[in-house]
Amino acid sequence: MTAQQDIKADTWTVAGRTFSSRLIVGTGKYKSLEENAAAVEASGAEIVTVAVRRVNIADPNQPMLTDFIDPKKVMYLPNTAGCFTADDAIRTLRLAREAGGWNLVKLEVLGEAKTLYPDMRETLRATEVLVKEGFEPMVYCVDDPIAAKQLEEAGAVAIMPLGAPIGSGLGIQNRVTIRLIVEGAKVPVLVDAGVGTASDAAVAMELGCDGVLMNTAIAEAKDPVLMARAMKAAVEAGRLSYLAGRMQKRRYADPSSPLAGLI
């Protein structure tokens, strides 16, 4: 197989579903649903995360996300953002499954509002219950290789450690532990949270992650649609760089032009 063919066939699979885009984007914080849809289009994402919330019964004719982003064209991945207990997350996902009709979901159980760090005790408990009920949870988690293993054993179909706190845009703060998780996991690993700019997404991919999930980095950019394009390019570049295998680092210079034949 040539390198070209290799790249074409470079897909990833989660719970039996195969995707070619390794960028998953959130659909929160956009100025408008139009801008949101344009950014999703520019990102090339095949999966978007969505939240489950009460309908506005006082104004049922408000525009709906599904009018702008077609769930038949882009896979909706319902999340449990805002849930601080396993029970709340499970309840939310039971409703999400009824609203959407599929089992692939994103679980996050938060520990506190200040850092939005995951509560791993509740996260693990929710994973166990959801798997028993037939869900296929992709799980937001701490960057702890042991916790990642435990989630995988409990039936998580993907491990999604944070690179930095949700919405912080601080970049990948934990390359060593992300890499340890990648090396130890048999299910896909995606960095979820922390990406601030395109180079951060490339770093995540260069660490060998199967994908990256982001929301704020695109939604809060000055030009979200342009940033979505940048993220698409960065994820692809980082992936190719990982597959290519980077050069060894040296402590000193090594000339690129031959020394022989020097006048």
Partner: protein
């Protein structure tokens, strides 16, 4: 049930009255919503979409009606 045959329920935390004998699907429609685009929880139990037309709204029921919105 009240004198006018209507029942009192809570929907998304708000008090509502609907005619007695109404199905959950009818109640959702009465609110201007498409039952195919929402999910309904009745007294903490999900009501499968396939049974929305068969479940009758009872006095004192507590409903959550949700849908997908933008989120991270």
């Amino acid at each position: 049930m009240d004198v006018d045959d209507s029942v009192s329920v809570r929907v998304n935390g708000e008090h509502r009255r609907v005619p007695g004998g109404t199905s959950v699907a009818e109640m959702v429609n009465l609110m201007g919503l498409d039952p195919l685009r929402v999910a309904v929880e009745r007294n903490l139990e999900v009501v499968p979409r396939s049974t929305l037309g068969q479940v009758t709204v009872e006095d004192g029921d507590d409903y959550e009606i949700v849908h997908f919105v933008g989120g991270g």
